[in-house]
Amino acid sequence: MTITDETIHYVAALAKLELSGEEKEKAKKDLGSILAYMDTMNELDTEHIEPMSHVFPIRNVFREDVVANGPDRDILLSNAPASKDGCFMVPKTVE
């Protein structure tokens, strides 16, 4: 599969990454060969196969809807790169 500049631009945007020119060229080459290899899956006939997301036949797990929030706010905020008045701080997003 040939990976175009547009495709790289698109997946980088989806992954929220900014790539340098050199990184883009390397990504084009790597993704091309990796996806070509992934295409070998097409040799297998899967027409009547159901996609399997979980290996065990387990049912959904339910629990009571009670608040059980763990560590308190100050502990959580102590890891934040920036915080103010008990909140995470980010650049202004609404003018």
């Binding site: 989806l14 929220k16 990454l17 996806l35 290996v55 797990v61 763990g70 934040a80 790169p81 650049p91």
Partner: protein
């Protein structure tokens, strides 16, 4: 005598019998790390003060009659750096989490502490557990203690190397596509990936949630079983954790494989496998036969399609799981931004390494509209075929035998330039994760370069006891095992 060469259970017994104090064990371990970690770099963080203080406390509790049922009370343990330790830096070997101090302990860490363990440090790994060499760590590479010119394997390379170098009595690793078993093979130690759902993933930093499982890396099979006894168990905080009746894995430590039916997938001995490893696996098969097992080769379905299916599914899940690292809640934030979008993009571009970026982009691609069916959905169908193939095999066999990896440890610097080639090294391990099966890797010889060869025993779902019994029986035939 160098007490760091003892197995975890031997050390636990000596602590229990008051032949060695916990403080002595901890000090000896720290001393060993001080001497040899400059050569191997197994650890990202060594917890010197914390471990000494904890050792004192555990000693007092033992003397007060606590931990009677715990064979590993007081024994120092190393924990992979993608497992949360409260207040202790947990980095996933990534710049993006270089300063992250988890506000809580992972379930396995709680369990270790309840069993009287002393955490001695956090081990190096491939960044976000994505890699097979421990060369992608932001904190530098780990060297293989058996030969420092070679990689220790990955992604739990620091844990496996620490055990191999006697820098840890035992360690925890995580295994998404072979990340416990392959480094165990490369370093000549024993590592086990339990059935999906046996060990709680609560507090394990997620890579590919449907495949990730925590497990032990240790000096022998008995230690692995003892560690699994401690860390297994149902946990409501991990909704994929499966409640089971009896765990008690150490009960399976019996030297007896008479009548056991062992299958060798022919595809696991085919092209691409190093000749010396093939010979070693066939010799192991003979050993099992001599001990009374029935060994037979058979055709396992869809062996060749496990790697493409694995990398589609794992990358897809990774791209979703790693979207939480955005420079807002924890970890690294770029110093140069104009607006919120730039905080996200620059933080992630500066904070993640190449292999992590590559897998997030592959994941974004296979999940994107237009390609979802051709890649992601197709991979889930291939996974169903692989699972069905194993189901069929386990109607006939109790345990499957094969190599852990197609080669012994590559030289440093040989693997990263060609990612696809590196992915192919996971051929014998990834299908086990796709099918959710348990498997153990244990040493079965060395190649002409003196590098360890690992063999893998795969069990049916919740068939840990069969593979432990088979591995233990084989281990008894090996000279020089601990």
């Amino acid at each position: 005598m160098d007490i760091t060469t003892l197995s975890a259970l031997e050390m636990g017994r000596k602590i229990k019998n008051r032949e060695i104090s916990v403080a002595e064990a901890v000090k000896a371990q720290l001393e060993k790390i001080k001497v040899s970690d400059a050569s191997y770099h197994c650890y990202i963080t060594v917890l010197e003060q914390e471990a000494l203080a904890r050792g004192e406390k555990v000693q007092k509790l033992i003397e007060a009659g606590e931990f009677k049922d715990s064979p590993l009370a007081g024994v120092p343990v190393a924990v992979k750096d993608n497992i949360c330790t409260q207040g202790v830096r947990t980095t996933c070997a990534s710049k993006i989490l270089y300063n992250f101090n988890p506000p809580y302990n992972a379930a396995v860490v709680e369990k270790l502490e309840n069993a009287g363990a002393v955490i001695i440090g956090k081990t190096n790994m491939d960044e976000f557990a994505m890699g097979s060499t421990t060369e992608t760590s932001y904190f530098g590479i780990t060297n293989n203690p058996r030969n420092t010119e070679h990689v220790p394997g990955g992604s739990s390379g620091g844990s496996a190397a620490a055990v191999a170098a006697d820098e840890a009595f035992y360690a925890l690793g995580s295994d998404t596509g072979g990340s416990i078993r392959q480094p165990s093979a490369f370093c000549g130690v024993t590592g086990m990936k339990p059935t999906y759902g046996t060990v709680s993933r609560y507090g394990l930093l997620a890579y590919a949630s449907s495949l990730d499982q925590i497990g032990p890396i240790a000096k022998n099979v008995s230690d692995c079983a003892a560690v699994l006894d401690i860390i297994s168990g149902h946990d409501a905080r991990d909704s994929t954790c499966v409640a089971q009746g009896a765990y008690h894995y150490t009960e399976a430590l019996a030297d007896d494989v008479r009548g056991m039916k062992i299958g060798i997938p022919k595809g696991y001995l085919g092209a691409g496998l190093d000749d010396e490893i093939r010979k070693s696996i066939l010799a192991a098969a003979e050993t099992f036969e001599k001990k009374g097992a029935v060994v037979q080769e058979f055709d396992l379905d869809a062996v060749d399609y496990a790697i493409p299916a694995y990398y589609v599914i794992a990358s897809a899940e990774a791209s979703s799981n790693l979207s939480r690292y955005d420079g807002v809640k924890y970890g690294y934030r770029t110093g140069d931004f104009e607006n919120l979008q730039e905080v996200y993009k620059k933080t992630r571009s500066e904070g993640f390494g190449n292999e992590v970026k590559r897998r997030m982009m592959i994941g974004a691609f296979v999940l994107s509209s237009g390609y979802y069916d051709a890649y992601y959905n197709k991979a889930l169908k291939v996974k169903a075929i692989i699972k069905a193939g194993f189901d069929k095999a386990f109607q006939k066999f109790d345990v499957l035998l094969g190599p852990t990896a197609p080669s012994t440890a590559p030289r440093l610097g040989e693997s990263l330039s060609d990612p696809l080639k590196m992915y192919l090294g996971d051929i014998y391990t990834v299908s086990v994760n796709l099918a959710g099966l348990p498997a153990i890797s244990l040493p079965c010889g060395t190649d002409s370069k003196g590098l360890p060869i690992g063999m893998q025993l795969i069990g049916k779902h919740f068939g840990e006891k069969e593979i432990i019994r088979a591995a233990y029986s084989f281990e008894q035939t090996q000279t020089g095992n601990k």
